[in-house]
């Protein structure tokens, strides 16, 4: 295949494969430029119609040239750096995720600055230099590997040197300043409230992280994002060989690549003339410039210009071979060419501005949407606001940068001297043509990636759609990876044409993040695998791991679930652990319970208001169980309250609710009762807690705490003692969550493992996990807040009227207990269920129905199973359930629909084991 690289273009060779064939490009190429250099015209088949497609653009606006390589399922060949050994395949049809895992690392960084400049073209560099000169902290982010924006594409000179050289020097100078951060290959893809912008930096496979997300908070932002050339919809405008004129110019100037041999240029404006000049100089024969205007631009001598003409047809099925042009009063002409360059004018890149909440305004002069009013602290400079001359962009950028720095509180720095640029020829006004009218619009493509044609858009408007948002969704135009960079405004224009409405009235569809595609793995960053979510562990965790415990997730906590012995499954282990606690003694890590130190002269009064029961009457040295409700009367949390002193309590909360309960306390203290003299402090992790439970627990404790009188009279139920256990300063509470004689031993968390090992060192104690704890508490009918309750359950629903004080004038929730709703007889009550088949374990969440045969749907359900276990002491499975009017159904048979089966169960009290509480004292 002939090389289309300009003669004399230097570059280190880079070998690569595309669709299984070997090629060579040069360092600095993109995959697209390397393919063009090798004469590869067709790089894709369109997803819906299977039409051959070529490279259409030169950067992120590319709609066609999608490839997959490595684990990357979908990348634009136009932005993909050519690297040695790159093996890419064209994407034919839809993208598919790689089956290989992505082993790269991704991460994120937070950054702050006074002025963030997006874009390192002439306007962006001038803005950054002007802002940095004031001493402001500046970040300049640019999505290209080399600085200069369009300068390397246009080969214009700045300050007497080639533009790309000026840009590189300017950027290097900026990067040398201590308070300037230069982010190259970094696309700002989202602009959110309060000048919070998110960017992705492509650092490469050899970097510590392949891609990095920058989360930037900027006091001021300058958007110098440039412009995209506009396509024109005409018959056959999707053929390989049709390319944006400015993109072809970029391939020639930036990469030394000629995208064709003989070109027709189809334009509405002057910029394509400059492209034609550069391409001609590079060696492309310009067959003709087809200008829709009646007045020609400044063409090179000898170039034929057909004014008042349009392109009406493209010859060649596999790629452009000829171009048919028509003009009023002229005979149609077919011109031989392998390249058709198109310029419909330029659209400022207002995406980020629009994301920032900025309003867009239609500018009649350029026929484009430009930035209007905006609430956030953002400036737009250069082509992004419709300034299309080099001198204008430099000036505009410098002014915007200075204004931004000043707004951030900086002024009077080193002034940025705007470099000189060659004089530019005055431009002829551009025409605004979006669509070449025709009888048939079947190959007038609007969105090349979605295969949407003008005919499709007209079908949408014909169906009555008026809004461009609706047309977008109806046709899918603008919904591909490129998010309508080229097709968006064109779609609006075609809708306008179809409806006879001005484009200005139709506006654009909403611009949303991300501006460029960003991988989920990039967004996930470090938050994946083991670091996906914090794992909270207790001071005993390593012991649980060493003893092979599987862990149960309780919120972010890892709690040992059970401790299987050799050959045991979960069921066997849990039955053994339960048996040990009911007949001997077991120990559990209870450190995860929330603990809050409540102190101050009004602490008792405060707790009286929070808990449904009375806490002020609790004696120092004693412990009381308590329930908290929300003002609506629904159970919020439960736990024990320990009175340490007249003015000091230690409150425990459920594992999952520790933070919420502390927040709840602070909320009431700060917002409703600031006069109460109370301070609350979390001490959850200051303490390690070992629960010792079972008839043998007293003897074990006595052995470990020789200084403690452990007999029932000296150390009664619901009291606590400070003592030494295993030589460690400890607080021992006599409380039970199993109905057995039990203690909770609290020590400084640093000593937790020492205590646990001492307990295990007695040789008589069986470690048990959360599953056993659940079985034991459920046998006793103790509910778990959040498992047996769901925010719609009152203490009375739980059968815990006794925990609701009748004496206190008020407490949170009290008023709601007088609402009719909380005393409905059909409220769901917590009850026990015994399956008729004692081996049948009901799934938690299963529903309950009244009859043994299902009626026609909708089937009325009475409630659901909240907890379900196998019980050794009951010799049966059992469950707790919330059942409508449950307490009036004792002994009734209900049914649990499971698949095709209706499993019969009998309603019982929720307290199934030791209802008299005989085992509490051992």
């Amino acid at each position: 295949m002939t090389s289309r690289r300009m003669a004399g273009w230097q570059g280190e060779p880079v070998r690569f494969r595309f669709d299984g064939r070997d090629y060579e490009g040069v360092r600095g190429d993109t995959l697209a430029s390397a393919l063009l250099a090798n004469g590869v015209r067709t790089v894709a088949a369109s997803p819906a119609l299977g039409r051959p497609r070529g490279i259409y653009a030169a950067w992120t606006e590319e709609p066609n040239a999608l490839v997959r390589y490595g684990v990357e399922p979908m990348a634009q060949a136009t932005t993909l750096d050519l690297t040695e050994g790159l093996d890419a395949t064209s994407l034919r049809g839809r993208g598919r995720l790689s089956e290989e895992p992505d082993t790269s690392r991704y991460d994120a960084v937070h950054a702050h600055c006074d002025v963030l400049v997006v874009g390192a073209g002439p306007a962006g560099l001038a803005a950054a230099a002007a802002a940095a000169g004031t001493g402001a902290r500046v970040i300049i982010a640019d999505d290209r590997p080399v600085a200069g924006g369009s300068l390397p594409d246009t080969a214009e000179t700045v300050g007497g040197v080639p533009g790309d050289e000026w840009a590189a020097t300017t950027l290097a100078e900026l990067g040398g300043r201590p308070d300037v951060r230069v982010l190259s290959r970094t696309s700002v893809f989202g602009y959110y409230d309060d000048n919070y912008l998110v960017a992705v930096e492509r650092r490469g496979a050899d970097a510590y992280s392949r891609e990095r997300v920058w989360r930037i908070r900027a006091r001021q932002v300058v958007l110098a994002t440039g412009a995209h050339e506009r396509p024109i919809a005409f018959a056959g405008n999707d053929r390989p060989g049709v390319m944006l004129a400015g993109s072809a110019r970029a391939y020639a100037n930036r990469h030394g690549v000629l995208p064709g041999a003989r070109a027709v240029v189809f334009t509405t404006n002057d910029s394509a003339y400059a492209a034609a000049r550069d391409l001609a100089a590079a060696g492309v024969e310009i067959a003709a410039i087809v200008d829709t205007r009646d007045t020609a631009g400044h063409a090179q001598d000898g170039t034929e210009v057909l004014t008042g003409h349009v392109v009406t047809a493209v010859g060649g099925d596999e790629g452009v071979s000829s171009v048919t042009v028509s003009g009023a009063g002229h005979v149609d002409r077919e011109i031989e060419a392998d390249l058709l360059l198109v310029s419909g004018g330029w659209n400022p890149l207002v995406h980020l501005f629009s994301q920032a909440g900025g309003e867009l305004r239609h500018d009649d002069a350029t026929g484009s949407f430009v930035p209007g009013p905006v609430r956030q602290a953002v400036e737009v400079a250069g082509a992004a606001r419709g300034v299309f001359t080099l001198a204008g962009c430099l000036e505009d950028g410098a002014a915007a940068g200075a204004r931004a720095a000043e707004a951030a509180g900086f002024r009077m720095g080193d002034a940025f001297r705007i470099p000189e640029t060659p004089a530019e020829e005055p431009a002829e006004p551009a025409a605004h043509l979006w669509l070449v009218e025709a009888a048939d619009y079947a190959t007038h493509f609007v969105d090349l990636q979605r295969d949407v044609t003008v005919a499709d858009v007209m079908k949408a408007t014909g169906a009555g759609l008026r809004s461009v948002e609706h047309v977008k969704r109806y046709t899918t135009a603008g919904t591909a990876h490129d998010q309508g960079k080229l097709s968006g405004v064109l779609t609006s224009a075609v809708v306008g044409h179809a409806l006879g409405l001005p484009l200005a009235d139709l506006g654009t569809t909403t611009f949303r993040a991300p501006y460029v595609p960003v991988g989920f793995s990039t967004l996930a960053g470090r938050d994946r695998g083991a670091l996906h979510d914090p794992v909270r562990t207790t001071s005993l965790h390593e012991w649980h791991v060493a003893y092979g415990a599987p862990f149960e997730n309780v919120g972010q906590w890892k709690r040992p679930w059970y401790y299987p012995r050799a050959g045991e499954d979960m069921e066997a282990a849990v039955l053994r652990e339960c048996h040990a606690v009911r007949t001997s003694v077991g120990a559990m890590d209870a450190s995860t319970l929330g603990k809050i130190d409540v102190q101050g002269p009004d602490a008792a009064e405060f707790l009286d208001r929070l808990y449904t029961n009375m806490m002020s009457t609790l004696k120092v040295g004693a412990i009381r169980y308590g329930v908290m409700c929300r003002p609506d009367g629904m159970v919020f949390d439960d736990g024990t309250v320990i009175r340490l002193a007249d003015d000091r309590f230690l409150v425990t909360t459920t594992t999952g609710n520790a933070a919420a309960v502390l927040d709840w306390m602070e909320e009431w203290l700060q917002t409703e009762w600031p006069h109460l003299r109370v301070y609350c402090t979390s001490v959850t992790e200051h303490w390690a807690t070992v629960a010792l439970a079972g008839p043998g627990s007293r003897d074990v404790l006595a052995g470990l705490a020789p200084g403690l009188a452990v007999d029932a009279a000296s150390f009664p139920f619901m009291t606590w003692r400070d003592t030494e256990v295993a030589g460690l300063a400890a607080r021992v509470c006599r409380i039970s969550f199993s109905g057995e004689l039990a203690y909770e031993i609290n020590v400084n968390a640093w000593d937790g493992l020492a205590l646990w090992e001492a307990v295990m060192g007695t040789g008589t104690v069986t470690p048990y996990g959360t599953e056993t704890m659940h079985v034991l508490r459920a046998e006793k009918g103790y509910p778990i807040v959040g498992q047996d309750t769901d925010g719609t359950v009152t203490p009375a629903d739980l059968g815990m009227d006794w925990v609701v004080s009748k004496k206190k004038p008020d407490f949170i929730g009290k008023r709601s207990f007088a609402r009719a709703d909380t005393s409905r007889p059909d409220r769901k009550h917590l009850v026990g269920l015994l399956p008729a088949d004692p081996g049948r374990l009901l799934p938690e969440g299963a529903h309950l129905v009244e009859t043994g045969t299902l009626p026609e749907p909708p089937v009325p359900t009475l409630g659901h199973v909240t907890s379900s276990y196998r019980s050794a002491v009951l010799g049966s499975t059992f469950a707790l359930a919330l059942v409508s009017g449950g307490r009036d159904r004792m002994g009734e048979e209900l049914y649990v629909p499971l698949g095709d089966e209706l499993v019969p169960v009998t309603v019982t009290s929720h307290i199934l084991y030791d209802p008299e509480g005989a085992r509490r004292d051992g």
Binding site: D194, R217, D632, E666, E667, Q670, T671, A818, R819
Partner: protein
């Protein structure tokens, strides 16, 4: 990500805060004296304006203080804030 001005810690990311709903909804002096209707209004009814809205925020990941702020719900601009004391 809003930047919310904690009266104590200064501007912090929204993720550090918990939202507390409409401000100035005081716990009734004597709930027992309220009708069911009045109590239900306290429990369940809140304003939901477009525009200026006085609301409560708690700087949960910082100083844990509650404060009131007037936020424009249409633009997310926080126009005023006050310490609750």
């Amino acid at each position: 990500m809003l930047l919310i001005p904690c009266p104590w810690c200064g501007p912090r990311d929204e993720a550090e805060f918990h939202y507390g709903g409409q401000a100035h909804v005081a716990y009734p002096e004597n709930p027992a004296a309220l009708s069911d209707e009045e109590w239900a209004r306290y429990l369940f009814f809140r304003d939901n304006p477009e525009g200026r809205f006085a609301e409560r925020w708690n700087h949960t990941a910082g100083c844990r203080r509650w404060f009131n702020a007037v936020r424009n719900t249409a633009t997310n601009e926080i126009e005023a804030r006050e310490v609750i004391a």
